[in-house]
């Protein structure tokens, strides 16, 4: 969904049109979450606050880029019968690194994300990109593909989290925007009778928000609508 485009020097063959497409496509018309509907579970679970969404997005981006690179480098050596196991080992190793780093440097957020960092291993986007792209492409395009899909995932996570945190807690990045909602000392909008929407904090509402984003996206680009 996010419209951000990587500014790149088009002169190098490294950033040829095809390679750039690998990055920009997953950001819009081939978004892993809204179009392929992958990685929904974590998108629902950890988007209560923007901060968590950003950290989770970066974690997945890191795993996806490095994993794609490693798998792509190994792609000719991996026997196809055990390729899933090899892919799993690579993801698991990367996720453990991410998890340990989070625990060491961002203990608060690590606690909030709890099991969902570990569950990156089973994130469908990652296995999907390994299978569909890294196993068949050279390292450089694989990195680009990883960046594109990772950013697509992170962008959607942040977008959903912005809605949920703003309407659910009245804040963004933990900074209250609508005044104080503490009972007894309400200020700003809360003094006028406004209340936070608890439903936004519950996972079902994340599903509704993702649904609305998909709705908006598809009504803007009719090509994405399935025929049936």
């Amino acid at each position: 969904m996010s419209e951000e485009k990587k500014s790149k020097a088009p002169s190098e063959p490294l950033f040829s049109k095809k390679n750039r497409k690998l990055v920009t496509d997953p950001l819009t018309d081939n978004n892993p979450v809204t179009i392929q509907v992958l990685g929904i579970c974590s998108a629902l679970a950890i988007t209560v606050q923007v901060e968590q969404g950003i950290v989770m997005g970066i974690a997945v981006l890191f795993v996806l880029v490095l994993g794609n690179l490693i798998i792509s480098l190994l792609r000719n050596m991996i026997p196809s019968r055990i390729r899933i196991i090899v892919q799993l080992v690579v993801v698991a190793a990367l996720v453990i690194i991410v998890n340990e780093v989070l625990k060491a440097f961002l203990p608060d957020i690590s606690e909030k994300l709890s099991v969902f960092v570990g569950l990156i291993i089973t994130n469908c986007i990652i296995m999907g990109r390994f299978e569909a792209f890294a196993m068949a492409n050279k390292p450089w395009p694989s990195i680009m593909d990883g960046i594109g899909n990772g950013l697509g995932y992170a962008g959607l996570l942040i977008l959903v989290a912005v809605f949920r945190e703003f309407f659910g807690s009245g804040s963004l990045m933990g900074i209250p925007l609508l005044g104080s909602s503490l009972p007894g000392e309400e200020s700003g909008l809360y003094a006028m009778g406004y209340m936070n929407n608890n439903m936004m904090i519950l996972p079902p509402m994340a599903l509704v928000i993702v649904g609305i984003i998909i709705w908006v996206q598809r009504s803007r680009n009719k090509e994405l609508v399935e025929s049936h």
Binding site: G193, Y194, M195, N198, M199, W215
Partner: protein
């Protein structure tokens, strides 16, 4: 006037709205003339109007009841005579209820018009009923902006994205209430009073509903010591007449029964659903009596039928022809399970004092599955008969 709105006319864009109003007031210009359709004066609009007429007794009584409890809250005296000062109470009630109705219709119809103009179809009639149901199932003291948000959510997410009236899988009015229930539990949980102006109550007015008080039997500190004290406070007759606090339209079983009679007489409401829903609720009440264990479980089963939203839900919500089961046997199953679930949630889960709403929404989701298996069973039975012959 009409040519201006016709195709190619100056105001073509507004045609859906024009058509909505003219067909509401007059017989539509196009009626079914070919094919095997039933030719009848009763189109969707007449159906919906009939339902609204059926709701009028509830609405009138609800206005009066709201006014009464508002005065009770203001006086801080729970034993205020119900029938004295009738005119004042009615006017006080009007001041509470009319804004709710205005917000519900205003927000809902605006959204319907926007979608109607965008997609080029006439205004969907379904909201005429939903818009009246929404204020009736709201607590009287709910802030108006919450009603607006809930109505918008229910109409867009509950109905328009599925394709409008007739395509929704969930009852729109109930969805708006469920949304409020989960989004703003502090003002909607159903154990607090739903009367206007309770903040300024004098002491001694606990200000909770019958169901809220009953739910406290499941906790450590019940409001009443035992069930006799409860029945002294809310007698069966009072609950039946509707002289108890509660959401605007739900309290009076008599008014609801008048509505039910209208629905059944005109053939719009399904007798199977209503009857099986009541039977299901009553059976579950008896079953819980047998289990026993605490005061709420031992509440006589017939009390369950007259408190909270059971009666209103049965007559006006469960029978919604769009979201209920369609097959004959399916309707009976739908009602039975719905009634049982409603009482079960109400009694066993203190966090959800009003289980009927959740039970009906749950059965809305289940209705297509029930229908599917009823139809499949029918197919199997007929195949078998074919084979034996």
């Amino acid at each position: 006037m009409e040519p201006k709105f016709a195709k190619g006319g100056k105001l073509e864009k507004w045609n859906p709205i024009f058509e909505s109003f003219t067909t509401l007031a007059f017989t539509p210009a196009q009626v079914t003339s070919k094919g095997s359709h039933i030719r009848d004066g009763v189109d969707l609009k007449r159906t919906m109007i009939t339902v609204i007429i059926a709701m009028i007794p509830c609405l009138l009584f609800g206005i009066y009841n709201t006014g009464h409890w508002e005065m009770v809250a203001a006086a801080g005296d729970r034993n205020l005579d119900f029938w004295s000062n009738g005119g004042d109470k009615f006017i006080a009630g009007l001041f509470v209820v009319i804004p709710l109705i205005a917000v519900s219709y205003g927000v809902g119809l605006t959204i319907e018009f926007i979608f109607g103009m965008k997609n080029g179809h006439a205004l969907h009639e379904g909201f005429l009923v939903s818009g009246m149901l929404i204020p009736l199932i709201m607590p009287a003291d709910v802030p108006l902006w919450m009603v607006g948000v809930a109505t918008a959510f229910a109409v867009i997410i509950g109905k328009e994205i599925f394709g409008g009236t007739g395509m929704n899988i969930l009852n729109v009015a109930l969805l708006s209430r469920a949304f409020l229930f989960f989004a703003y539990p502090t003002s909607m949980s159903g154990d607090k009073v739903w009367m206007a102006g309770t903040e300024n109550t004098a002491d001694g007015f606990t200000g909770s509903t019958a169901l809220g008080d009953l739910a406290t039997f499941m906790s450590d500190k019940p409001v009443f010591e035992n069930i006799e004290m409860y029945t002294n406070n809310y007698s069966f007759i009072d609950s039946f007449m509707g002289m108890i606090p509660g959401s605007i339209g739900e309290t009076s079983v008599i008014a609801i029964l008048i509505g039910a009679a209208i629905l059944l007489f005109t053939g719009i409401g399904s007798f199977r659903i209503m009857a099986s829903f009541v039977i299901g609720g009553y059976l579950m009440g008896m079953l819980l009596n047998l289990v026993g264990g605490n005061e709420f479980l031992e509440l006589p089963a017939h009390f369950h039928l007259v408190i909270g939203g059971f009666a209103f839900g049965t007559v006006f919500m469960a029978t919604d022809p769009v979201t209920a089961a369609q097959t004959g046997v399916g309707k009976i199953l739908y009602g039975l399970i719905g009634g049982m679930l409603g009482i079960l949630i109400r009694v066993l889960n203190p966090a959800y004092p009003e289980g009927i709403m959740l039970a009906i929404l749950f059965m809305n989701v289940m209705a297509p599955i029930i229908d599917h298996y009823v139809v499949q069973a029918n197919v199997k039975r007929r195949l078998k008969r074919l084979k034996t012959v």
